[in-house]
Amino acid sequence: MLSLIVFLPIIAFFLILFLPGAQKQAIRIISLVAAFAQGVFSLIIWQGYDSTKPGIIAGESGNVHETFQFVERFDWINLEFGRFGTLNIEYFMGVDGLSITMVLLTALISIIGVISSWTIQKQVKGYFLLYNLLSTAMMGCFVALDFFLFYVFWEVMLLPMYFLIGIWGGPNREYAAIKFFLYTLFGSVFMLLVLIGLYFSVIDPATGNHTFNMVAMVDQANYIPGSIFGPENSLWRLVAFVALFVGFAIKVPMFPFHTWLPDAHVEAPTPISVILAGVLLKLGTYGMLRINFPFFPEVFQDLAFVIGVFGAINIIYGALCALAQLDLKKMVAYSSISHMGYVLLGMAAINTEGMTGALYQMFNHGTITAMLFLLVGVIYDRSHSRQIEKFGGLASYMPAYTFVLTLAFFASLGLPGLSGFISEAFVFVGSFSSEVTRPLAIVSVLGIVFGAAYLLWSLQRMFLGKRREDALYEVHEDEHGNAKIHFHDWKGSNDLDLREYLMLAPLAIIVVILGVYPMPILGLMTSSINQLVEVVVSYTSFAMN
């Protein structure tokens, strides 16, 4: 089942490969069908998911079926090296509370992304080939339970992203693409080193061989004493933690490794921004939760405060930078940095409330920011500009657009009743309850104020008041005396059209429902989060005894 979800876009990839490039509509429809099928299978998995199974760690004697669900496990690469033992790489997938939420998010964002890509006209075939490859890689990352497999998906993801920004992007696209690529590659080199080190440090209790099995890596009993990341080798464990953390932090992106993000967003076409903000950033924090923290729990505990500090910096620094932006898309990009800071802060709390808030924030940020980027795309399509100060008074002429945008803005600033509030609230609840991160929580609440400031100020400048003198649209009256607007060379509907409704409405509905009753998503993750907290907290107490 999971393989099917992961590789459906690859099937589409091959179908498209054999179609002539002129069959644009067929290419789009194949991609849409693949994304939809992915969505349907994700829903089936969601239905079949038993939220009482905790995941994170294996059950009795390394039996992963007791805790993980929808497990698929085969030997993939098995090489004999004589006296050096065997190199054993598994094809190992499964979901628990951490990953299922991300699987659902990825499936959702993939569908929205395809709909949003409908208007791409340049080299449609190439675009959708890369899009489907990207989609597979993202999904694969979230379900892989073998570190090597995870790494493969992680690297595969880079390539299509590089070309999607570099070819279909804005004027400065090549700079942005290369920056994104090199930055992420820089991070994954660290990951590769730690990956190899872990392989030689961990044995699978079931087979007695070295393994890339991530579930086995969580159990500290599987680390060989005397190996490089063995239990007593605290210096190397610290180095490994930091190396992995930097690798993931680049993806989050965490201050000071964040500057690739605004550039990438500003240059990327709308659907790619949606994917980037909606899913890719979560891979960083997902990797921390899945790999970084449970593998090196004692280092995590020692460094929780530092991670929290970076979270707080992200929150406030991101919000302040967002306030100064004049490009709407750049503002949203900085708001992403700010909002991902909440995830870091929540995780640093090392308690259930904070970590649940963080994971839930990952989901909510995915939906809300996807909405924001789509909305930026709507106005950019019409006016070919994203300058906040080049409009004014749009609310009078584009009421539906204004309504959806206001909803998205308020969701982003954490209005109760919309999903962003609950995750931010529990991030604060958790980080305040932990004595380590309490001072950071006190500082970070300022982010709530600055968040409201940049969003409401942009809302006012673009939508409220009257049309500015130098606005990028014209107003004229029709025969009934109703004011109508006109964008320079835009032929379509001035307000939202059907395609745009189809992208925005599902996200808006999800944001509202999950804001009123979060349990459908939040209920999936609680037992896994409790398990994760248990794993992290209990290891230290074991060590201290």
Partner: protein, 737 residues
């Protein structure tokens, strides 16, 4: 589930349903769906009245409460905590039951009023939808049984306030005001949120009851300073929402909203939510926190009153008056006059709503003229408005026989009692309160005479060159001012009737004998007394013992003996509150005397200045110009905040953006370009040295190749000769060596 709970849930959800329905369909409905909004709130009102009669009249018990909750979020078995669930629920007690009626009644009347006032507006249907979400959120605040729920609805009323202040969003002033309101409230809210976090971190629950019980059981493990901090931080929410100093600046600007909204949200209900919230958490406030609250309240009451006396805009005067009256309520809570503060909340809600709706009627009739200098003489043209406005105005000023008199005097008596117990500088608190009362009478008298008496001064208004459109509009309708239609008159009459004493108590001089102050009693504090106050207030504590004995004896003859027993038994447990209650009782008549003097003096001054014209206000203003300007410019708070906080934030934000672009990204680009530089250098090295070495090797080989090629001639003779040379050389070497 109890019927009362069911009814309260229906009453809560109806306005929300109306909002959701109308926001999508209003343009397609007849009358843009205003009857749906009004109907929904009307049904809510009927249900609230049922709850009110069941709870307040039926039970008539100060300790009555009814709760219901459900699990909203289930965290499962949390490590270190155990099973953890976040619950949402409803709490119905006397406070709730009274507030339900106040909110729904005023909301319903405002709906009716708006049918006249907003008629013909471009977004008429949207207005009624917004009223729905406001009513829903406000009822949520009232019904919530935990801190998270109240915070949620707290933000939602913030949203509805934002939407309604900016209802005329095409006006820049409205768009500015709505943003200012939301931002200012957010600042207060983060304080409130931190307060909630402190309490949650101790008890892992948001429920009022569990938290109070936890504090009482001594399970608050942080120091007492943190508990004080929690109280003050929670109070920050009230500072924002109830427009207390230093976050009061948003409320006067909020008058950019339609006037019915000002009546409903920015006078009667939402701004009182802060006071309601402090009343809810009253029991966990430490003495230090109460002192802070009392000082903030008294200062706000005084400061806002000084501003109100010089404003020209009819709504701004009322806005500052609202800030000032909210200051009274907050001060009342701070000095321990819990019941009077809540009493004042209710009475103020009615008479201030009446005043705002009355001013709305005046503005509507005077073709959107809001400046009182260009009004006058409306008494004869708008008799209904005049009569109801007068009653409400007298209630605000605190004239005996009105509701405002009873509640305000009770607060002032409480302040005197508080000062008597605390002593020293704390006498400033009642002093500020009485001064504010004097100014209240003055500015209300001024407004009265300017608006309703004398000659109409509309023609004196200087021509405004930018106002052509407006004048054309006025000329078209003529300058005729006339009484408003019945749907605007009816709410005025009902609200004015509710501003008279007999609604609350038979005895016009003493509210304590009425039903209201019977069902609302000061709850017992759950904070463990540290004992300091025992010595400090020994005299009063002794006296209060005596007082209670007397009261106890008195109560034997009373019909409601049981409840009094319980209450007096509990009074013993908190000597400080008992002492204050006793001193308050003593101060009752003194307060009446003082405030009556203030009232007469204030009214008299307004009469002399604005009716008789004995003192010319303009010349007086000229004589005390600095003071006048200080008041007229609202103590320059807006300018101060603009110069410090707002500019500071923008500067910081621009600095950060610069830092980000040039330093952080500059580092990245530097690393990038230096790698590139290094790569190019490396390329040169590669070309020159590495490749050079390779080429050099090739060159050497080539060189030797060239040399040896000379030898490789292909002629046998040469080879034989060379072989001969070699052999000879060998022999020479062999024999000689």
């Amino acid at each position: 589930m109890d019927t009362l709970i069911q009814f309260s849930i229906i009453a809560l959800l109806l306005p929300l349903v109306s909002f959701v329905f109308l926001i999508f369909t209003n343009k397609k409905l007849p009358r843009e769906g205003d009857f749906i909004a009004a109907g929904a709130v009307g049904v809510s009102l009927i249900l609230s009245l049922y709850i009110f009669f069941q709870v307040v009249v039926g039970e008539y018990n100060p300790d009555y409460s009814l709760t219901w909750n459900f699990t909203w979020i289930d965290f499962g078995d949390v490590p270190g905590v155990g099973p953890l669930q976040i619950k949402m629920g409803i709490l119905i007690d006397n406070l709730t039951a009274i507030m339900l009626v106040v909110v729904n009644l005023i909301s319903f009347l405002v709906h009716v009023f708006s049918m006249g006032y907003m008629a013909g507006d471009k977004y008429y249907g949207r207005f009624f939808a917004y009223l729905g979400i406001f009513t829903f959120s406000m009822l949520g605040i009232v019904l919530a049984d935990n801190l998270l729920a109240i915070y949620i609805f707290w933000e939602l009323v913030g949203l509805s306030s934002y939407l309604l202040i900016g209802f005329f969003f095409e006006k820049d002033s409205a768009a500015n005001a709505q943003k200012k309101a939301f931002m200012t409230n957010r600042i207060g809210d983060i304080g409130m949120w931190l307060g909630i976090l402190i309490l949650y971190s101790q008890f892992h629950t948001f429920g009022y009851e569990e938290i109070f019980q936890g504090i009482q059981d001594g399970r608050f493990t942080m120091s007492e300073g943190w508990l004080t901090a929690a109280g003050i931080l929670l109070f920050c929410g009230c500072i924002g929402k109830s427009a207390q100093f230093p976050l009061h600046v948003w409320l006067p600007d909020a008058m950019e909203g339609p006037t019915p909204v000002s009546a409903l949200i920015h006078a009667a209900t939402m701004v009182a939510a802060g006071v309601y919230f402090v009343a809810r958490i009253f029991v966990l406030l430490t003495v230090d926190a109460l002192h802070v609250i009392a000082i903030i309240g008294a200062f706000t009451a005084f400061m806002a009153a000084t501003i109100a006396i010089t404003q020209h805009d009819i709504k701004r005067v009322l806005a500052y008056s609202t800030v000032s009256q909210l200051g009274y309520m907050v001060m009342g809570l701070g000095v321990g006059a819990f019941a009077p503060a809540f009493f004042h909340l209710v009475t103020h809600a009615f008479f201030k709503a009446c005043l705002f709706l009355g001013s709305g009627a005046v503005i509507h009739a005077a073709h959107h003229e809001q400046d009182m200098r260009w009004m006058g003489g409306l008494r004869t043209k708008m008799p209904w408005t005049f009569a109801t406005f007068t009653i409400a105005m007298l209630a605000l000023a605190g004239l005996p026989l009105t509701s405002g008199f009873m509640s305000k005097d009770a607060i002032l008596a409480g302040a005197l009692g508080f000062a008597a117990v605390e002593g020293g500088l704390y006498y400033l608190i009642p002093a500020l309160g009485f001064t504010a009362a004097l100014m209240t009478a003055f500015y209300m008298g001024r407004q009265m005479w300017l608006v309703f008496f004398g000659e109409n001064r509309a023609h004196l208004k200087p021509e405004d060159p930018h106002d052509d459109h407006h004048h054309a509009h006025d000329d078209h309708h003529g300058h005729e001012v006339h009484e408003v239609s019945w749907e605007m008159r009816l709410p005025l009459v009902i609200l004015a009737a509710l501003s008279i004493f007999f609604v609350y108590s038979i005895n016009p001089l003493d509210g304590a004998k009425g039903w209201f102050l019977h069902v609302i009693k000061t709850p017992n504090t759950v904070v463990q007394s540290t004992g300091d106050y025992h010595n400090h207030t020994e005299d009063h504590a002794k006296a209060s013992g005596l007082f209670i004995k007397e009261a106890y004896a008195e109560s034997k003859s009373d019909t409601h003996t049981e409840s009094h027993d319980a209450e007096h038994a509990s009074v013993f447990s908190d000597p400080r509150q008992a002492a204050i209650d006793h001193a308050t009782h003593d101060a009752h008549y003194m307060a009446i005397a003082f405030s009556s003097i203030m009232l007469l003096f204030g009214f008299g001054l307004a009469y002399v200045v604005y009716f008789k014209g004995i003192i010319d206000p303009d010349k007086t203003a000229e004589k005390i110009k600095p003071l006048y300007l200080y008041s007229f410019n609202k103590w320059y708070w807006d300018e101060i905040y603009d110069a410090t906080i707002i500019r500071g934030s923008f500067m910081l934000s621009n600095m950060m953006a610069w830092f980000d672009k040039n330093i952080v990204d500059g580092m990245v680009n530097f690393v990038g370009s230096s790698s590139k530089w290094f790569a190019f250098k490396n390329g040169r090295f590669d070309q020159l040295v590495v490749d050079g070495a390779v080429n050099f090797t090739a060159f050497i080989i080539q060189f030797f190749g060239l040399v040896f090629r000379k030898i490789q001639t292909g002629h046998v003779q040469t080879y034989v000769a060379l072989a001969l040379v070699a052999i000879i050389g060998y022999f020479v070497y062999f024999f000689i060596g």
